[in-house]
């Protein structure tokens, strides 16, 4: 599929993307760039990837018609149940794919960054599965607020290294992972979202594309049409959203809605709504939209949700924003919490805090009664119970 939403040969989506990396990283990135497309396209990879997704992850993930939620909003809402995947989020689609690529490249040591800890857990899981060594970088602040995932990673045999610089969150964990990669060029950096230098955003997008690939036939079965009217997903780096949008980007009649974290309010100074607050800039080797001050210093973001607490977005999202192909909305901490309580009470599903942001735009949208809306339920809320309970009491 050649389209406007595929990167060019240097990894650009319009003006965004590329590989803005120090020479120290050039050979590491080049090795992946030279091989990833070929590996992913190979029959051996496809067989193993598909079989692991089916029998290990539990795919296809159900497309569930949320009857009571639909009733409340007077429309037809389907939930793409990525929360039911093994390890509890969409992140494992990507880690299964990348671990197979790593193995093909002969790598034995894996590193990753994590925010919410979902990607860290998904990485530690596939490393255990393949018998590979695993080191996960995680911001000190996130280690505290996502403690259950830290325990899971450790039980899975991963080493969790606290990132103590900057805001001590996802951005800083990514910095530390990249610095470690510079010093250990033979490790494989298993990146967790559609961010980083080319080819990482494209590689991760291809591996998450399975979400919308399944949506097509599931919707056909359930509604008689492959295309929904609207797809809603939350955006941290943007991988679950890209996965849910991927096979619909060229279908202009499908409305794509990306939801960012507005923290205490978009303009409160405590927010992670990158598209609203950012400008063109470079972060983690990619040209994208970035929250920065007048002198190009990266601004520390804020969100209650560790997985959305990131001052950039993937380059494809920056392009979707500029071209208006996707509509960018946002939800505050408070709105996300309310949406999480709502889904829990009327559908019996406790969503991840990240996912709750996608749900939180429902009251802000006006729906037609025949509209088919898919919300990508990117993860489950077990890891966030402490936060939920604390705020429920308040």
């Amino acid at each position: 599929m050649k389209s406007t939403f595929q990167p060019d040969k240097n990894g650009y989506f319009g003006q965004y993307g590329g590989a803005y990396i120090p020479e120290l990283l050039y050979p590491n990135v080049k090795e992946i760039e030279d091989h990833y497309i070929q590996i992913i396209a190979s029959k051996a990879f496809q067989q193993e990837y598909k079989s692991l997704l089916k029998d290990y992850v539990g795919r296809p993930s159900p497309l569930y018609y949320a009857k009571r939620l639909s009733g409340k909003y007077g429309t037809h809402i389907y939930l793409k149940r990525e929360d039911l995947n093994h390890t509890g989020a969409h992140k494992i689609n990507n880690t299964i794919g990348q671990i197979l690529i790593a193995k093909k490249l002969g790598k034995t040591q894996i590193i990753a960054e994590t925010g919410a800890g979902q990607h860290g857990v998904a990485t530690a899981t596939v490393c255990a599965l393949m018998g590979l060594d695993c080191t996960v970088f995680m911001g000190e602040k996130d280690i505290i607020r996502q403690a259950p995932n830290v325990a899971r990673m450790k039980m899975l045999g991963a080493k969790v290294v606290p990132a103590t610089s900057g805001s001590k969150t996802l951005k800083d964990a990514t910095n530390e992972a990249i610095r470690y990669w510079i010093q250990h060029p033979h490790t494989f950096y298993l990146i967790g979202s559609v961010v980083g230098p080319h080819p990482h955003p494209d590689m991760v997008a291809r591996l998450q594309a399975v979400i919308s690939e399944e949506m097509k036939w599931q919707l056909l079965e359930k509604t008689g049409k492959e295309n929904p009217d609207t797809i809603i997903a939350c955006v941290g780096g943007g991988s679950n959203a890209v996965g849910a949008f991927y096979h619909y980007m060229e279908e202009k009649d499908v409305e794509l809605i990306a939801v960012e974290a507005a923290g205490k309010g978009v303009y409160s100074g405590k927010s992670a709504a990158t598209s609203q607050l950012g400008e063109v800039g470079i972060i983690h080797g990619s040209k994208t939209i970035l929250m920065q001050d007048d002198y190009g210093q990266i601004v520390e973001p804020y969100s209650i949700s560790a997985g959305l607490d990131y001052p950039g977005v993937g380059p494809l999202h920056a392009f979707l924003y500029d071209t208006k192909r996707a509509k960018f909305m946002n939800a505050t901490d408070e709105e996300a919490l309310q949406a999480a309580y709502e889904l829990t009470r009327i559908e019996g599903i406790i969503p991840a805090l990240e996912t709750a942001h996608a749900l939180a735009v429902l009251p802000k949208l006006i729906f037609d009664k025949d509209q088919v809306v898919v919300i990508n339920l990117s993860g489950r809320g077990d890891k966030d119970l402490e936060t939920y309970i604390k705020h429920l009491k308040e």
Partner: protein, 258 residues
């Protein structure tokens, strides 16, 4: 010819360059540090432009950058400071900063202010060669600015040759696969790499940096290159001992060399 190139023409061995972060330890120390370094006989000075997320830097330079930013350092201020010593300073300066700062400031404005300060050499560690070829080569040429490329033990010969052909000042030879940070020894593996590059007989002078920290490591790497850059070890010294003691640090590095 760039100012650095003319220095390197006159002196082809044991060239000593010091990197420091502007606005560190105190906001107005930038010019003082340059003055003292200059008097101490340093051959050229790298002025670091503090950045919030310096990917190629280890903890020491990360910390000095954070401190400088807290002190209120920014590009306008650093150019104001450097402008003030333009006529008195006799040691060539090189600027080192990350691409995002320069993009946000405005690339033309950056180049203009830099040349106004009499500086003609720039290191942007995260400027990819591809983007340089498509855009910055032309831009820098208009302002008479030379960009310094880094090479590492994993840079291919083909790429090194290309870098050599683009270079008008020196090639920054990263001593090992590391971020910046002081180390006390040079390994056999590093020496093999230095020898391999030496045997390529490049047209550009080679200056080795990252991990050079003391007299011993300085002398050792100078056997294989025209000189070396010391950064983190200097910053650590400066943090503990202050600006006045800088000459001690430099004498300690160079000792019997002169």
């Amino acid at each position: 010819m760039s100012l650095i190139a003319s220095i390197l023409k006159k002196k082809s061995s044991n060239v000593l360059s010091i990197y420091f972060t502007s606005g560190f330890p105190e906001l107005n120390d930038t010019t003082k540090v340059i003055e003292v370094l200059s008097k101490s006989g340093v051959d050229f000075i790298e002025v670091g432009l503090p950045y919030s997320d310096p990917l190629a830097d280890g903890p020491t330079i990360q910390d000095s950058s954070q401190k400088a930013l807290k002190n209120g350092m920014n590009l306008d201020l650093v150019f104001d400071q450097l402008m003030r010593i333009k006529t008195t300073n006799t040691t060539p300066l090189v600027l080192m900063g990350y691409l995002n700062q320069i993009l946000k400031y405005g690339e033309d404005k950056f180049c203009q202010r830099m040349t106004d300060c009499g500086i003609d050499t720039l290191i942007i560690p995260d400027l990819p060669m591809l983007v340089y070829e498509e855009h910055h080569r032309e831009l820098f040429k208009r302002y008479g600015i030379n960009h310094v490329f880094l090479i590492t033990p994993l840079t291919t010969d083909e790429r090194i040759r290309k870098i050599d052909s683009y270079t008008e000042s020196f090639i920054y030879m990263v001593a090992s696969n590391t971020t910046t940070g002081a180390k006390s020894n040079i390994s056999k593996q590093q020496i093999d790499y230095f020898k391999r590059i030496e045997s390529m007989r490049l047209r550009s002078p080679l200056i080795i940096g990252f991990g050079i920290s003391n007299h011993h490591t300085f002398i050792e790497v100078c056997k294989y290159a025209n000189g070396a850059i010391i950064g983190s070890a200097f910053i650590q010294f400066l943090k503990v001992n202050g600006v006045k003691k800088i000459p001690e640090f430099i004498q300690n590095i160079t000792r019997s060399v002169y």
